[in-house]
């Protein structure tokens, strides 16, 4: 009988980094962003590229393309692509592969020219969106996530001011992160009065669109003894998918994929909500993190926004959330999921300077793919 607990802390994150630059990078191809991020993360781990034998990536490149670009011949590859959380899910896949000896050093790579579109070619099955969405003006994420948001407002009385608090809290963290793209302080009124894009969202409720890469290196604890930095243990992981088309989501105000992924991660880690000292959530929209907190069982239904409005989530608060400045203010390439893993690792290592949360022992990373369609959750810890 398989036991989830057997996979707890059997592998650890030993290297993380972004691409050399982040932001608007018309002079860099998408593939270059991958290569920069991986070489930086492998250096952060104190390993040589020749030791990497597992390659994981999502999006437009196959892991074979990444292996080739890096000049390595991996013996384990994974290209699971279920949206922006794919990289979070891949941490779990990498842990399982490492545990069973399918590879010894795994790298998860993300590179996306989301703003400049250098070397980008969209290719997807259009049967559902082409027939049932596009004729009405539906398309990019803001035209979808707003539906989730207005339903939540109708059901729970959530307000535009409360969503705006998420942007304000996240910007406070961004102000402390030199790598964040938007660092000037904002107020709730700034968010409400910003350019309307799709009601209920103004532009300040919606993530940035940037070019960047990010990578995460994992290995087993025995192999981590001679790596450069203190290892960060993957105590729990989980994944799930519910739908792709929003019409197929059972309850627009609750993500079943998120619940499934979180439940599995918590059970594997043997921790509960009270054990967390730091949280990273996928903030493509201001309404995302509160609904994720509710779906994870960390907040009562309809009350996720309270974490942001009452100061718990902000610098100095009791449960800091999105300390890198998030997709809203730090960076968001399109598939953001690698970046919250990088930030959680840095917080657990104590490398975060002005934004360092004191005494971080256990960090939760949760992300969505699509419109809360897929989800991945990690419980990361400085101790096994």
């Amino acid at each position: 009988m398989a036991n989830l607990r057997d996979l707890s802390s059997v592998a650890c994150i030993v290297g993380v980094d972004e691409s050399d630059e982040m932001g608007t990078l018309p002079h860099k191809s998408q593939l270059s962003l991958h290569v920069e991020a991986v070489t930086n993360a492998v250096r952060d781990a104190g390993l040589n590229m020749s030791e990497v034998d597992g390659v994981f990536t999502a999006g437009q490149h196959s892991p074979a393309t990444i292996g080739e670009a890096l000049g390595i011949t991996p013996r384990y590859v994974d290209g699971t692509t279920v949206g922006g959380c794919s990289f979070i899910i891949m941490v779990g896949h990498a842990v399982a592969a490492l545990h069973h000896g399918l590879c010894d050093v795994a790298v998860i790579s993300h590179g996306e020219s989301g703003r400049s579109q250098v070397g980008v070619s969209p290719r997807r099955d259009t049967a559902i969106p082409g027939q049932y969405e596009a004729p009405y003006g539906f398309g990019p994420a803001p035209t979808m996530f707003g539906l989730i948001t207005t339903r939540h407002m109708h059901r729970y009385g959530t307000t535009l001011e409360q969503w705006a608090q998420v942007a304000v809290s996240t910007r406070k963290w961004a102000a402390l992160n030199p790598k964040a793209l938007r660092r000037e302080p904002i107020t709730v009124q700034d968010v409400l009065k910003a350019r309307p894009v799709v009601y209920p969202f103004t532009v300040l409720n919606i993530c940035l669109v940037t070019d960047a890469g990010g990578a995460v290196v994992l290995t087993r604890p025995d192999r981590a003894k001679d790596t450069a930095k203190r290892p960060v243990y993957v105590r729990g992981f989980g994944e799930g998918t519910e739908h792709v088309s929003l019409t197929q989501m059972k309850d627009l105000t609750f993500s079943e994929a998120t619940r499934i992924s979180g439940d599995k991660a918590f059970r594997m880690a043997g921790v509960g909500p009270n054990d967390l000292s730091h949280i990273m959530l996928y903030d493509a929209f201001t309404s995302g993190p509160p609904i994720m907190l509710e779906s994870l069982g960390l907040a009562k239904r309809g009350e996720g926004v309270h974490f942001f409005a009452d100061g718990r989530s902000t610098p100095g608060g009791s449960l800091p959330i999105n300390t890198n400045g998030g997709g809203l203010s730090y960076t968001h390439t399109g598939m953001y999921g690698i970046f919250p893993i990088i930030e959680a690792t840095r917080q657990l290592r104590g490398e975060c300077g002005a934004r360092q949360v004191p005494n971080v022992r256990t960090s939760l990373v949760n992300g969505m793919g699509g419109m809360l369609s897929a989800a991945g959750t990690l419980v990361l810890s400085s101790e096994a």
């Binding site: 003006g137 539906f138 109708h154 059901r155 019409t247």
Partner: protein
């Protein structure tokens, strides 16, 4: 008249009764002959009992506005409906939810509420394509 929306592309074989029905002013929904489940979107196996015996029923065209957004810009060059416009998720009386636009209403968040009753109106784009839009029940 200029076509102001992206035409459905592709129109899949499993959705043919839907598109055929719209041309005749009927909103047709797939219904499983084995378990009776009425579902959206058309597919070759019932998403509930997974048998492949799929029939079709005509919807009353009545439902409620489950969720909405107001678009202040177009996100597709082929979508030329004047802004602002209302993006809608409708829950049909038969159960399924579909995406559409809410029309014949002021695109003002104060005038639109979730769960308001709506009904289908048919909008002919070409000889092949008619779309189901929705308006408030008067």
């Amino acid at each position: 008249m200029e076509i102001d929306r992206p035409l459905p592309n592709p129109m899949t074989p499993e959705a043919k009764p839907y598109w055929d029905g719209l041309r005749e002013g009927k909103l047709m929904l797939p219904k499983c002959r084995a378990c009776g489940h009425v579902f959206w979107y058309p597919r070759v196996a019932c998403p509930k009992c997974h048998t492949r015996d799929i029939g079709w029923i005509q919807s009353t065209g009545r439902g409620t506005l489950h969720a909405f957004e107001i678009g202040y810009q177009s996100f597709n060059r082929a979508f030329k409906v004047p802004t602002p416009y209302v993006l809608a998720m409708v829950e049909l009386a038969e159960g399924p939810r579909m995406l559409s636009n809410l029309v014949n209403i002021e695109p003002d968040p104060k005038k639109i509420t979730c769960d308001m009753p709506v009904e289908v109106v048919f909008s002919k784009l070409t000889d092949d394509v008619t779309l189901p839009l929705f308006q408030p029940v008067r």
